[in-house]
Symmetry: C2
Subunit: 419 residues, 2 copies
C-alpha cells in the first residue's frame, strides 16, 4: 500500500457530502459523470480568512487556477482584483464589474493581447524590455495612456516552493538589476506606472520561507523604488500559498504569515509609505473547495492487484495522475464517495478510462471497497483541474462543472458541459 | 548547450518548407498562429511503406494519435480499419466509409459506449470479465449479436518500449491465464467472437525487441486458440512502432520487423491458419508528418541566458515540454522555420506564453538566431499533439490545424479553429 494525501476535514465523513448534498445527488443534478463540484462557501471562508490575516493587503484572484465562469462571477464582489494571463482570460471577466484592479501577466503577450489590455484599462505586468517598448508604442498608436507595472525577476527564491519563479535566469519578469531603469523609462514615456510585480514562487507550505521571501520582496521593492525615486502605486507581492496534496503535507498557517507581513507593513521605509500592497492567489483560494467525482465503470483483478476503473481520469485531472510538473508520482487524496462508513477497506489502484498507463488517479491506496456504480472522489480538485488537463484526449465527453453554495442563490447549480 | 532530437530529413533545409510551401505561407493560410501542419503525403508514404513491409498484415489506424477530422477522412480509403478508444472517437468516424474493421479498446467503457459500439457493429476488445458480461447482456437487450474480441494482458513485455503495457498487473486486457476461458464464454453466449488483441507496449525503437515480442505474441495467440479450440478470425498484434523524438534515437527499421513477421506468418501452427492478422499504428503513421508552428513574440536575455518566447507552448504541445509521461525532460527537435540558411546560430531556450516554468519547448538548444515575428517549428508534432494537450490552459485561443498534401485535392487547406 502506498500513502496518499490527507482528505480535507470538510470531506472526511463517508458517504461524501459536499455543500450539504450527497455526491450522488450532485451527480444526478449534473445529469452525468464525471463532474467537478466547487463549494463556494468554502472559497468565501478562505477569502474571509485572508482578509482577517492580511487586513492591509489587497486580494487578487489569479483566474488561471480556475476560470469557471460562475465562479468568477461569484468571486468578483469579494476580491479586489483579478489577475489574467491571456486575452482569453481577460474576455472571461469582461462582463463582470471590476475597476482598474485587473493585471495581466505572462511572458508571451501578443500585440493583439497588449492592445486589448490597454483598451480595457488593464495593468500590464511587463515581462521584458521589448514588451515595455511594444506596450508604450501600442498605447501611443491607440491614443490611450497604458497602465504598466514592472514584473521583476528577483534574486529571491522561495525556498521549498513547488514551482520556483525567482532566483535564476527566467522568462518571467525583468531582471532586478534592470527593473528600475525600465520603470523610469515607462514613466518618462508618459505611461501610467502602476508599480512592481514580484513573484518568487508558488505552492509553498513553509511559513518561514514565505515570511522570509515577503520580507526580501519588500526590501527589493523599496530598493527599486528608491532607484526610480517614486513611490509605487501598488506592490504586488505575488502568491505562493500552497495547499497540501500529498502524504505528510500539512496546511499552511497563513495567520503567522499575515502577522509577520502586517508588522513589516507598519514599519515601511519612506519610499513605500502610501503604496498599496496586493497578493494574487489562485490555488489556495479554490483548490481545496473542489471535488472531482467520477463513476466506477469496472472492477477487475489482474495478477492479484485490484483496479477500480472510472469514467474520468487524466483527461480531466492531469495533475492528480502525476503528469503536470511532478518528478515523482505521489497520490492525491481520494475516496469512495458512495461508500457507507462501515464499508470494508482494501488496497486498490484507481485508473481512468484512457488507453495509457499514465491514466492512474491513485496507485495502490487503501480505500473502501468499490464496484461499478460507485463514485470516486478526487479531492483538492478545485485548482488547475479541468482547465489544466487535456480534456479532448481520447475523445471523451467534457465533464460537468457545478458551483455549489453561492450566497443569495442557495440552490444554484451551474453546469458547464464544455463539449 | 543541451542536445535535441534530430530534425526529420524532409524538414532539414531552412527556411522550412512543408508540403512544398513555406512555413510562413502556411501561417498566412491559417490566418493566425500557432498552427499544426500535417503533410498527408508523408503519411501516405508511411502507409505504403508498411504495406510493402507487411504484405500479409492488415493496417488499422489508432485514431487517438491524431483525431483531426480531415486526416481521418483522407486516411479511411488507405487503411483496413480504425481503432477507437471512446464513443466520442467512434462518433468521429461515423460519417466515413468503413466496414466491420473498427475495434474499440479501453479499460473504462461505459454502458452507453458499449451500447453505441454494438449498435454500430464495432468489435469490442474486452478488457475484463465484467466487461464481457456487460457486453453480452447489452447485446441481448438490444437483440444484436455483439462482435467481441478478447484483449489479453500478456506475460510479454516489449523491451525498451516507451510505454509498457504487458508483463504486469494491468488495467488493460484480461490476464493471459483467463483469456481462453473468457473467449469460450463469449462463444457459448452466442456472441460473434472476433479473436485476440495483444498489445505489449508502444513507442519502441528496438527492432530486435519488437521481433521477439511479435514472435511471443503469435505463440501466445496460438496457445490461447488451442485452449479455445477455435481459429480466431483476427489476431490484432498491437502496435509498438516508435519514432525518434530525442537525442541519439534513430528511426525504426520496420522492414526487418516485417521480414521476420512475414517468415513466421508463412509457418503458422494449424490453429492460426486462416486467421487474419492486423497491426494498429498511430504515432508511427502520423507523428513525423506533423509540424507545430508558433510565432516568436519576444526575445529576452535574463542573467545571460537567451529566451525565445512564443505564442504557443505546453497548451498545444504538452509532450514536447516534457510533461506527458517522461521522467527526465529531453529536447524534441526544434528549429527557426523562418531563418535563412546562413543565419548565425546561438544557444537559447524556447518557452511558450504560459505563466509557468513548465512551459518550455526547448531547453538551451543550438538554433538560428530568432526574434519577434519569426516562426519556431516543433517537429514530430503529428501524434499526441493538440488532442493530448491542455488546450484551454490559461485561456489562449485554440491553434489552427491544416492538412496538406491530400491526393485529388492538391491545394486543400483544412482549418479547425477548435475554440
Amino acid at each position: 500500500m502506498k500513502p496518499m494525501g490527507t482528505i480535507p476535514a470538510d470531506y472526511a465523513g463517508m458517504p461524501l457530502t459536499i455543500a450539504g448534498r450527497s455526491a450522488e445527488a450532485w451527480a444526478e443534478a449534473a445529469g452525468d459523470t464525471p463532474l467537478f463540484v466547487y463549494d463556494f462557501a468554502a472559497i468565501a471562508r478562505r477569502i474571509a480568512r485572508f482578509r482577517a490575516a492580511f487586513p492591509h493587503v489587497d486580494l487578487h484572484y489569479a483566474i488561471k487556477a480556475n476560470p469557471f465562469a460562475p465562479l468568477l462571477e461569484a468571486m468578483a464582489p469579494l476580491v479586489d482584483g483579478f489577475d489574467v494571463a491571456s486575452a482569453g482570460e481577460l474576455a472571461r471577466i469582461a462582463g463582470l464589474k471590476w475597476g482598474a484592479a485587473v493585471s495581466f501577466a505572462g511572458p508571451g503577450k501578443r500585440r493583439d493581447e497588449i492592445e486589448a489590455a490597454i483598451r480595457a484599462g488593464v495593468t500590464i505586468n511587463l515581462e521584458s524590455e521589448g514588451e515595455a517598448a511594444r506596450a508604450i508604442a501600442i498605447g501611443d498608436m491607440l491614443g490611450v495612456v497604458p497602465r504598466l507595472a514592472v514584473r521583476v525577476n528577483p534574486e529571491i527564491e522561495l525556498r521549498g516552493s513547488g514551482m520556483r519563479m525567482g532566483g535564476r535566469a527566467s522568462p518571467f519578469g525583468i531582471d532586478a538589476d534592470r527593473a528600475a531603469a525600465v520603470a523610469s523609462e515607462v514613466i518618462e514615456a508618459g505611461a501610467d506606472w502602476r508599480g512592481w510585480h514580484i513573484f518568487a514562487g508558488s505552492q509553498a507550505l513553509d511559513e518561514g520561507a514565505i515570511i522570509e521571501t515577503q520580507a526580501e520582496t519588500l526590501a527589493l521593492a523599496a530598493r527599486l523604488s528608491e532607484q526610480v525615486g517614486v513611490t509605487p502605486p501598488l506592490v504586488n507581492l505575488g502568491g505562493g500559498f500552497g495547499i497540501p496534496y500529498f502524504p505528510g503535507e500539512v496546511p499552511l498557517d497563513i495567520e503567522s504569515v499575515g502577522a509577520a507581513l502586517c508588522a513589516r507593513l507598519a514599519d515601511l521605509p519612506a519610499v513605500l509609505a502610501g503604496a498599496r500592497f496586493a497578493m494574487e492567489l489562485g490555488r489556495w483560494l479554490v483548490g481545496e473547495a473542489g471535488v472531482y467525482l467520477t463513476r466506477v465503470v469496472d472492477r477487475k483483478v489482474s495478477r492479484g492487484e485490484t483496479f477500480i476503473v472510472t469514467d474520468g481520469g487524466m483527461n480531466h485531472q492531469l495533475a492528480a495522475t502525476g503528469n503536470l510538473g511532478t518528478v515523482v508520482r505521489r497520490n492525491y487524496p481520494v475516496g469512495v464517495a458512495t461508500a457507507a462508513a462501515d464499508t470494508s477497506r482494501e488496497v486498490a489502484s484507481v485508473v481512468g478510462p484512457l488507453c495509457t498507463p499514465l491514466d492512474r488517479l491513485a496507485d495502490r491506496v487503501g480505500i473502501a471497497r468499490a464496484g461499478p456504480g460507485d463514485l470516486i472522489a478526487v479531492f483538492m480538485a478545485g485548482a488547475y483541474g479541468l482547465s489544466a488537463s487535456p480534456a479532448g484526449f481520447l475523445g471523451h465527453a467534457a465533464p460537468r462543472e457545478i458551483l455549489a453554495g453561492v450566497p443569495d442563490v442557495p440552490n444554484a447549480i451551474f453546469t458547464s458541459p464544455q463539449a
